[in-house]
């Protein structure tokens, strides 16, 4: 087998495996307007690849992730703002699709507890300190 045919065979062989491996944005998706492309990347990094484990669509090569990347770019070209795009995504897929959970009643604890932990931590120390004797 010549070198060239071997390469062709392997490339064909490998293609199917690319479909479920971890790859990212492909060159043909990239928008010409750099500002828009950057926006698309920022949004994609916050959108979960629904069929992957803990990956954003920006990092994933799953077909669904690719579709979503293209949809996001189309929406940007149509002039939608970020908020509208996120709304479109959550209407379709639910909050699960956002890697940064939106602030809602059910996520209040998630977003504010760290801050409250912080206050409580210092509060306990201050109160303890007030009670204690100086040495």
């Amino acid at each position: 087998m010549t070198n060239k045919t071997f390469i062709i065979i392997i490339s064909i062989f490998l293609i199917q495996f690319f479909l479920n491996s971890s790859y990212t944005v492909e060159p043909d998706e990239v928008l010409e307007n750099q500002k828009q492309e950057l926006r698309a990347r920022d949004i994609s990094k916050n959108v979960r690849c629904m069929i992957c484990q803990n990956q954003s669509i920006d990092e994933s090569n799953a077909p669904l992730a690719k579709d979503l990347r293209i949809i996001i770019r189309d929406k940007i070209k149509e002039g939608n703002n970020d908020k509208e795009i996120y709304k479109f995504l959550t209407d379709r897929y639910g909050d699960f699709i956002l890697l940064k959970p939106p602030l809602k009643l059910s996520t209040l604890a998630l977003w504010f507890l760290p801050f409250i932990f912080f206050i409580i931590g210092f509060f306990i120390v201050f109160v303890n300190n007030k009670k204690s004797k100086k040495i």
């Binding site: 392997i10 690319f18 890697l99 760290p114 931590g121 303890n128």
Partner: protein, 627 residues
């Protein structure tokens, strides 16, 4: 034969663990304790090495070998394959437990016999729990009938030297906290605990755990960086969080122990922290092995395992926390803290570490809570952690820079200002210097670089001044942290990425480098076939720098596909190339990353490790003085 013997040795270790529990509980005959501790160590060594043996000789009558190995696998990965799967890794976990158990036993003498016996009793309880777990739910010596010709192979992305030693290092970390846990339980339980120098006993174990956990996490990140192929190295994956949480508490614990030693304060707090650090290690194991969290670390999943660990963790947690509640009163000290002092700064950082740990814990379990309570699914990913953890991390690092140069008790503010003036100067110069090179003005970038040099220059100055108030291990480890921050900041803020389609002989440019796609080769190895691209890298003066050779591998046995990134590293930047999909006619998708200063993450981690070892040495000497 070997699998039967191994299984027998495993049962024998169960016997010795239970025996140790009862003999050390009564603390009457040293002879019995000696027999049980040594018996436990030897039998778990035997079962571990017999499992290694059946992996090396590819004994496919053992289910575990059949499922995870193959005759064509290189020897190194046959060995690391022992702990590359759930069942085998439990055996390693048990082995590390019994080694720590042995070291605890070595501390035994006439004066502290009651205390060490109690520690050994607790340790025996933990060991029994894990051996029972292994035997009942995950016995690696389970046979398969009939024996098979060959195995199913081993996940190829795990066939890697860094990942081969990553689990043992992590386990030393997790399990090291078991020793601190046991010592804490003993301190709370025995009558005259206040009179025992328990913190001196505890410190080397905490240091060992923390040091190995640090380097274990770093190796995992390094592996993710070059193996997963998208230029990142930390993904806030639940499993990464499971190792990061004990690390954070371990950091707090380590520093609080200094205050216990020097000021006799925070004793109850340290006892609580050492309990929590180990509990988090066990809960982390539960999260990983039960499969209730989806993660990139896929272990063989089985709900019965999850339930067992959950019950075990609840038992350990319930007992230890109730014990703490009832018995910790005598360890509460009412000492006043001035915030502007060494102990003040340690205290502040303690709070911050615990707050970060709680935040990570919250983010990890929140999706589970929401799903259980409201039936909705949410994701908590990287953006959440970035916007919660980083703001708490920044003050912690600021304090970390100044803490070591403050004195105990009270510190004069103007004197301190004079002391830190050279640091501020050095930090400013270095920061300006870095920005002249990278010319980027992101806010996080500026903050990160300032913080990194704040730590680095402070510790360099302490080193030059030979400050006697500071321990060598601390300076080295802090220096390492500074370097890690430098690497993290610059590689995440100034990373450049280029995704392009390249045909053979075409070229592309990233920063000042010209990259020419020279040719594509086929590779045939014993366990995979691959396509490899050769990329010539030229700098702006047209000198050739290197040839990068990224690969796409296809592993025939597991039907698995991996990409091997090719990286050229120097002290200033990494050039990172990944070969994507493609063919001869249309060209290949190529992704190129320019990652500034990324190597300092790994150098820094190594320096942290060295600092930990140095500190361990110092603290072991303190321990020896007791004998």
């Amino acid at each position: 034969m070997a699998p039967t013997l191994g299984n027998f040795a495993l049962w024998l270790s169960l016997f010795f663990a239970i025996f140790q529990f009862f003999t050390s509980r009564k603390n009457n005959k040293l002879k019995f304790i000696t027999v049980s501790v040594n018996g436990l160590l030897i039998s778990s060594l035997i079962s571990f090495f017999l499992l290694m043996y059946v992996h090396i000789v590819s004994d496919f009558s053992v289910l575990n070998v059949f499922q995870n190995s193959h005759t064509t696998k290189p020897l190194l990965y046959k060995i690391s394959g022992v702990w590359g799967n759930h069942e085998g890794s439990m055996l390693l976990w048990i082995l590390v437990l019994t080694i720590f158990n042995y070291f605890i036993f070595k501390l035994y003498n006439k004066k502290n016999s009651a205390f060490i016996s109690k520690t050994l009793e607790t340790q025996a309880f933990i060991t029994t729990g894990f051996i029972l777990f292994t035997i009942l739910t995950s016995n690696p010596f389970e046979r398969m009938i009939p024996a098979q010709e060959n195995g199913l192979g081993f996940n190829p992305i795990l066939q890697d030297p860094a990942l081969a030693i990553h689990p043992p290092l992590l386990y030393i970390g997790y399990v090291g906290f078991s020793a601190a846990f046991s010592i804490s339980i003993a301190t709370l339980s025995v009558e005259d605990g206040e009179k025992i120098p328990w913190h001196i006993y505890m410190k080397p174990f905490v240091l060992a755990a923390w040091t190995f956990l640090s380097i274990g996490i770093a190796l995992g990140a390094l592996w993710a960086y070059y193996e997963l192929g998208w230029g990142g190295w930390w993904f806030w994956d639940p499993v990464e969080n499971a190792s990061f949480m004990p690390w954070l508490l371990g950091t707090a614990l380590l520093h609080s122990l200094i205050i216990v030693e020097k000021r006799k304060s925070l004793r109850a707090w340290v006892l609580l922290l050492s309990i929590l650090a180990f509990l988090l290690s066990v809960i982390g194991t539960f999260l990983v092995r039960s499969g209730i969290l989806t993660s990139v670390h896929t272990f063989a999943l089985d709900p019965s395992r999850g339930i067992y660990i959950l019950i075990f963790a609840a038992l350990l947690g319930g007992y230890s926390l109730i014990l703490f509640g009832v018995k910790s009163k005598r360890y509460f000290d009412n000492n006043y803290f001035t915030f502007f002092s060494k102990e003040g700064s340690i205290l502040i950082n303690n709070i911050l570490m615990v707050v970060i740990c709680s935040t990570v814990f919250l983010g990890t379990i929140y999706p589970l809570l929401i799903e259980a309570l409201t039936n909705n699914k949410i994701s908590v990913g990287e953006p959440y952690y970035n916007s919660t953890v980083i703001p708490i991390m920044i003050p912690a690092i600021l304090v970390m820079g100044i803490g070591p140069i403050l004195g105990w008790g009270k510190e004069d503010k103007s004197k301190t200002l004079k002391k830190i003036f050279p640091t501020i100067l050095l930090t400013t110069i270095m920061t300006i210097f870095i920005f002249l090179i990278y010319q980027s003005y992101s806010v996080i970038g500026i903050a990160g670089i300032i913080l990194a040099f704040w730590i680095i220059s402070n510790n360099l100055l302490i080193l030059i001044k030979k400050d006697k108030n500071c321990s060598m291990g601390m300076i080295i480890a802090h220096l390492g942290i500074g370097l890690v921050i430098l690497g993290i900041t610059s590689s995440s803020v100034w990373q450049e990425e280029k995704i392009t389609k390249m045909k053979i002989d075409s070229e592309t440019k990233i920063k000042k480098y010209n990259i020419v796609f020279e040719k594509i080769n086929e590779i045939k190895e014993s366990n995979y076939v691959a396509l490899r691209g050769d990329f010539l890298v030229y700098d702006d003066k047209k000198n050739i720098i290197t040839i990068l050779k990224p690969e796409n591998r296809f592993y025939l046995i597991k039907n698995n596909f991996t990409t091997e990134a090719s990286i050229h590293t120097n002290l200033f930047r990494d050039l990172y190339i990944v070969l994507g999909e493609g063919n001869l006619n249309d060209g290949w998708i190529v992704r190129i990353y320019y990652n500034p200063l990324v190597i300092w993450i790994w150098i820094g981690s190594l320096i942290i490790f060295i600092g930990g070892i140095v500190s361990m040495n110092i603290n072991l000497r303190k321990l020896k003085i007791l004998y």
